[in-house]
Assembly symmetry: C2
Homo-oligomer: 189 residues x 2
C-alpha cells in the first residue's frame, strides 16, 4: 500500500471513531508510526487530509456509478440503477459517514468540489423524475423535494445500519427502490 | 428569559455556526457576557449543556407530536399526522441539526435518553406500517427499512433546506407523505 493510502485509511478510521475535530495530526502520526513532520510532508494540513479522504470516497464510489447511470437512457431504469448502487455504497462500510458528517469542515475551494458531486447526484435523480413526469409515467409532484427524499433515505443509512449484518443490504436497497418508485409513479386509477 | 434558557440558546447558535467541538465554554461565556465560572455554575460541563439543548428540542418538538400521534387509532392517519409534523419541525429552523449531528458526543447516560426518543419515533412509524400490513392495506415490505426510509427523508432536510424560503415547507411535507404513503400501500391491480 502506498504511504498516502496508508495515511488516509488510518486517518479515516480515527475520524470515524472519534470525530475529525477530536483527532489531532499528532495522533494520526503516532498511529502510523510516523513523526509529525513526516505526516506533514504528505499532508500540509489536517483539512487537506480530510479532503483527500472524501475525494477518494467520491472518486471510487460515487463518480463511477454516476457515470454508469448517465449512460442509461430510460429514466426509470436509470433511477433504479442509481438508487440500488447508492444504497449499496452506504451499506458497504461506515466510511461514507465521513463524507456526509465532516464535509462542513472543508475549506471553500475543497467544499466546492465536494458540492459539485452532490449537485450531480441531485441532478441525476431530479432529471430522471422530471423525464418520467414528462412522459406521463410519474406524478406531478415536486421533483426537487422527491430527489431530496431519495437522497435522504439512502444517505441516512449510515446513522443506523448494522454493519455486522450486511446480509440485509439487498433487502434494504429493494425496499428503498420499491417505496420511491411506487411513491413517484402514477398508480392505476 | 431565564439565564439557563439564554445560555442554551446562545450555545445552540454557536454550535450550529462552528460545531460543538470547535466551541469552547470560554467562547460561550464571552458571548453571554458571563465569566467562565459563572457559566460553569449553571452547567458543570459543555456536554451537560449539549444534552440540555438536545433534550429541550426533544421535549418541545418531538415528544408532544409523538404523544399526539399515539392517540390516533387509525394507523394510516397516525403515520400521516406524524410525518407531516416531523417534516414541519425540520423546516422550522436549523436547530434540529444539533440533535442529529452532535448526538454522538453525548456521554452514555445522556445518550441513552436521546436514543430512547429515537427508538419511540422509529417504533411509532414501524408499528403503524405493520398495522397497515396486517389489515392488508400495506405491502409486505420490511417495515423496519421502510421506517428508516421515512425517518431518513425527513431528517435529511436540515442538510439542504433553505431556511430563508420557508413558504415551501408545506409542499415539502406533502411530497414526503405522498411518496411514503403511496410507496408502502398496495396499488390497485
Amino acid at each position: 500500500m502506498e504511504t498516502k493510502e496508508k495515511i488516509y485509511r488510518t486517518a479515516s478510521k480515527l475520524f470515524l471513531e472519534q470525530g475529525y475535530d477530536n483527532t489531532p495530526m499528532s495522533h494520526i502520526a503516532r498511529e502510523l508510526g510516523l513523526s509529525k513532520a513526516g505526516l506533514y510532508h504528505h499532508y500540509p494540513s489536517k483539512e487537506s487530509l480530510l479532503f483527500d479522504i472524501i475525494d477518494y470516497l467520491n472518486e471510487t464510489n460515487f463518480i463511477p456509478i454516476l457515470k454508469e447511470a448517465e449512460k442509461i437512457s430510460d429514466p426509470e431504469k436509470r433511477l433504479i440503477f442509481f438508487l440500488r448502487r447508492y444504497s449499496e455504497i452506504m451499506t458497504m462500510d461506515a466510511s461514507s459517514r465521513i463524507a456526509v458528517h465532516e464535509a462542513g469542515k472543508l475549506k471553500p475551494h475543497h467544499s466546492k468540489i465536494v458540492k459539485q458531486n452532490w449537485r450531480k447526484t441531485f441532478t441525476l435523480i431530479k432529471d430522471a423524475m422530471s423525464e418520467m413526469q414528462a412522459s406521463g409515467k410519474a406524478k406531478e409532484i415536486s421533483s426537487t423535494f422527491a430527489a431530496f427524499a431519495a437522497i435522504g433515505m439512502c444517505s441516512w443509512t449510515y446513522y443506523w445500519f448494522d454493519y455486522s449484518r450486511k446480509e440485509s443490504a439487498e433487502e434494504l436497497s429493494e425496499t428503498f427502490i420499491e417505496i420511491l418508485l411506487r411513491g413517484i409513479t402514477k398508480g392505476k386509477e
